[in-house]
């Protein structure tokens, strides 16, 4: 789980071009949108693409997406649950 979260943080930084942000700057449970990293709606689409490209997971329901993309922790848990299924 820890390795996955670290990898996710690196992928988020690269995909969203978060210059001057390091993986250790991102708290596992901090919200990705609004406060925390301050991401916006276009970023949420990019994160969906990130999940699809890197983990072959497609989020079909946008309401589901809101919960999944809440934090790095929630994203990692979602990936783990899909990979286990």
């Amino acid at each position: 789980m820890e390795a996955l979260k670290l990898k996710l943080k690196q992928q988020i930084i690269e995909a969203l071009n978060l210059q001057d942000t390091k993986p250790e700057d991102i708290d596992d449970n901090a919200p990705l949108f609004g406060e925390g990293l301050g991401l916006d709606s276009i970023d949420s689409l990019e994160l969906m693409v990130l999940l699809e490209r890197n983990y072959k997971i497609k989020v079909e329901d946008p309401r589901e997406g809101r919960k999944i993309l809440q934090s790095v922790q929630s994203m990692a848990e979602f990936i783990m649950s899909k990979q286990a299924a």
Partner: protein, 338 residues
């Protein structure tokens, strides 16, 4: 009654150190390929970091040149935003097309697609400056900036706007440079800008840039007297149309003391420039501006910026900008110092 239109401010990002407002064109050395790359300024003072991280190169250049132009004019919200671009953001277009192929039309990132649309720069300027007025982007290859300028003059003439932010921007990517080299756009041998006019070979040197003007009714030192475009004219038509254009503007050929010309050393099309040079007095100062910015669809905007800078220096009174894009799209722009 005809309303006069003045250049109230300008800003240029180009291969020259033009962004600082300094006008000192130089021959820049080329080492690898026949391409004059734009010197990008620091963007941090213009674009919020959260927006900056997502923008591609052309968007940053276009938006920053536009914002600097407004700052130079002490203005925030123009009456309209009108731009021209021949290619839009090539970097984003290429990324988007590349991703379509790599990911077999699935999992496509929305950002390059959004930014590859030609009017992205206009949208960003409007969003950042909260400008909800007329907003238009012209994409007509070598007529792109010129149509934007014509539209600006018409908006002002018709009383729709007192000021218009008008600009032109284009970038060159490695891939696009290669594609265009295959159809003979660039000189096959590495040629220095200082030597390009005397090279005696087909093709030219590529360039890029983003140039903006705030034009409007408020009197300023340089007036835009008029613009005329000609599509694929014969050389003798260029001469006759120039005579008519000057007559319509109430200017005699001998009054033109500055010719800012698009000569780019391409032997296939240089004869058009010779026609215009012959039609004007030999005493007129001749500045071939593409030695400084290279060739690109909206290079005419840099030509107009060059003419404006020369007029502001006080050395000249009446400037004609003549440019054409690979022999197809020809434009006259007449500027006058007051």
């Amino acid at each position: 009654m005809e309303i006069k239109c003045y250049i109230q401010a300008s800003a240029a990002i180009s291969p020259q150190q033009s962004f600082s407002g300094e006008y000192a064109p130089q021959f820049l050395p080329l080492e690898e390929r026949n391409l004059l790359r734009a010197q990008e300024p620091g963007y941090a003072g213009f674009i919020p970091p959260n927006s900056l991280r997502r923008m591609s190169r052309l968007l940053k250049m276009g938006l920053t040149a536009a914002l600097q132009c407004l700052r130079n004019a002490n203005a925030t919200v123009p009456g309209a935003i009108i731009t021209g671009t021949g290619r839009g953001s090539l970097q984003d277009t290429e990324k988007f097309l590349h991703d379509i192929r790599t990911y077999e039309e699935t999992a496509l990132n929305p950002t390059p697609f959004i930014q590859s649309t030609y009017n992205s720069v206009n949208g960003l300027i409007a969003l950042q400056q909260q400008c909800t007025d007329y907003n238009n982007t012209f994409v007509h290859r070598g007529f792109s900036f010129e149509h934007a300028l014509l539209d600006s003059l018409l908006q002002i003439q018709e009383g729709n706007a007192e000021s218009v932010l008008v600009g032109g921007f284009d970038e060159m990517t490695v891939e696009h440079f290669f594609i265009k080299s295959r159809i003979g756009y660039w000189k096959s041998a590495l040629t220095q800008p200082a030597d390009m006019l005397a090279s005696g070979t087909p093709g030219t040197i590529a360039g890029e840039g983003a140039v903006f003007f705030l034009v409007g009714t408020q009197p300023a030192p340089v007036e835009v007297r008029g613009i005329q475009m000609l599509y694929r004219p014969a050389p003798d038509q260029v001469a006759s149309q120039l005579a008519q254009f000057l007559q319509k503007q109430g200017v005699k050929a001998e009054d033109v003391d500055l010719l800012v010309i698009g000569r780019n050393g391409d032997t296939r099309f240089d004869h058009f420039y010779a026609v215009v040079e012959k039609a004007l007095p030999s005493t007129a100062t001749n500045i071939p501006f593409k030695q400084y910015c290279g060739e690109y669809d909206t290079a005419g905007a840099f030509g107009m910026w060059t003419a404006q800078q020369e007029l502001l220096s006080g050395r000249h009174k009446t400037a004609l900008v003549y440019n054409h894009f690979y022999g197809e799209q020809h434009t006259f722009i007449l500027l006058q110092k007051h």
